[in-house]
Subunit: 319 residues, 2 copies
């Protein structure tokens, strides 16, 4: 939630010379996205978001993200469309950093999603996976199970400082996940970070999905597991089963889960909670105490892990 | 350049219930303004900026700012118009803080103003003063000469750390300013912080003036002195006399300076530089080293003070 790159009027005008969008009419840094800098840009041809990729973005990954957004937008899924410059390429550079201009999407992000929004989100996720069924690019999920031991190494004391005894529970989770992680499930391109603040709603309908910069190739049901974690928990690790049912039912109106995907939901949910617990733990340790951008609390996901540890079946998630 | 207040979709919807603007279609925190939080708001009736006043804003001052913006907009000066809620009052509260919705202004802020932009700005400042000629509210300038000794007290070592010998030069400036500050000049409502980043330009014309939260009642020519400091210096305290002439000439196409205002320009410029040097010195000391919002460098204004110390006459500024 910050603007890391400073772009002045002259630099912007020179950058826009490569496009057919006309001159800038308004330009404002916006507090959206944690990893990159985002700017609202208005020109005579419309409104756009200019994203400047900061140091955590890998340049070689960017064509995958651009391709995915373009593929979705071409199928009328409400994703931002990367706007090509006059040379046909949507990826350019500004201030020595990669940058892309995308179309602007209207809508409001829900802070506490309603039951209806959970159902709508599930349906949108189904459409998302179906729309990407013929998307041919691949990008490994570098925050999946093989990355977790590295993220976790040496952080037991930090975990216990958050909640005494947490470290040994996480050790147990890690062993269980390693022993039971599914070997083969229907896969494809997934969003992998479809939190409420990466969605927009208008009049109760999903009007936009943004922030594709964790998107990758993985099990489709893992994407559903990320959403069950992000959309269906109340405070203190309490799972809202009604919301879970609505989200899964919404998904299945578009794409039926296979029996092996249903069976895998509990472990996938546990793994998804582990992924966000670990990256938040790492981010917390890396953030100065007085930083303006407050890191997410890893405990939210430690509490979700607690629920997943007890869950016995797909029915516990509403499947 | 930050968003200090977190406003979720439910809170915003409840806040907008008091207005006749319709439901929110988009809402984004923007990196504009250092003192307050600003959000871009879109509804079916148009685009707006929601400003939430943070702790440095004094509630009793807000009606002055609202009145001034409304007065200017009513005279077709391109200032944001505070939008009244259904009860007729543009000032409301959100999250327990005062807040106002203003109309959105298009345009780009110049980083390095051109000669033409300096002339245009001078003319706009003249129109600004004339438009406010019948504005009857008053607010003392709490960052004028009587405030400077307090801001300066105990900061000699900080100044010398920036530039050896600076403290004694500032002491000399303070004595000179105290002995020579004008007692009476044409006065009225002034902007008092009309820096390039508080202006918008479109097609070479000034399209907007924003950030009225230092506005106050003071000598009109002091406002001109602030602008000469903010618009007409190159790097390292080099005054661009051509830009100074253009700015003053632009101003005088709308409002002629009286002879006593012209004579006072050198000391007013020196005082204006002192004001920004001191507040930047204070802000620098108050900002943690690793803060995301980088404070302005006080040395820029120490260097301008160096120019003002040598200046002999209004001609040195282009008058």
């Amino acid at each position: 939630m910050a603007v890391y790159t400073d772009i002045d009027d002259t630099t912007l005008a020179a950058f826009l010379d490569a496009y057919d969008l006309g001159p800038p009419l308004a330009f404002k840094g916006i507090a959206e996205g944690v990893e990159n800098s985002n700017f609202l840009l208005e020109t005579p041809s419309g409104r756009y978001i200019l994203t400047v990729f900061e140091k955590r973005a890998k340049r070689e990954d960017l064509p995958f993200f651009m391709g995915m957004m373009g593929h979705l937008a071409a199928k009328d899924f409400p994703a931002p469309l990367p706007v090509p410059a006059r040379d046909g390429n949507p990826l350019r550079e500004i201030q020595g950093k990669p940058a892309v201009i995308c179309t602007f999407l209207q809508g409001m992000s829900p802070r506490r999603p309603s039951l209806e929004q959970c159902r709508e989100l599930g349906q949108a996720l189904g459409r998302f996976h179906v729309a990407l069924g013929d998307f041919r690019m691949r990008r490994p999920n570098d925050l999946s199970i093989s990355a977790w031991p590295t993220l976790w190494a040496g952080r037991a004391a930090e975990a216990d400082a958050l909640s005494p005894g947490l470290a040994s529970q996480v050790d147990g989770d890690m062993e269980f996940l390693k022993a039971n992680w599914p070997k083969a499930l229907p896969g494809g391109a997934i969003h992998a970070d479809l939190f409420p603040d990466n969605t927009f709603f208008l009049d109760g309908k999903l009007s936009g999905v943004i922030d594709f910069y964790f998107a990758c190739s993985d099990f489709l049901a893992y994407d559903l597991a990320v959403c069950l974690n992000a959309w269906c928990f109340e405070r203190r690790g309490e799972f809202n089963l009604t919301k879970g049912r609505a989200l899964i039912a919404g998904y299945e109106t578009v794409r039926r889960l296979e029996p092996r995907e249903r069976s895998a939901l509990p472990i996938l949910c546990r793994g998804a909670a582990m992924r966000f617990f670990l990256t938040r733990l790492v981010d917390l340790a890396a953030t100065p105490k007085d930083a303006l951008v407050k890191p997410h609390n890893p405990l939210d996901y430690a509490e979700r892990l607690g629920f997943h540890r007890q869950a016995k079946s797909p029915e516990d998630y509403g499947a």
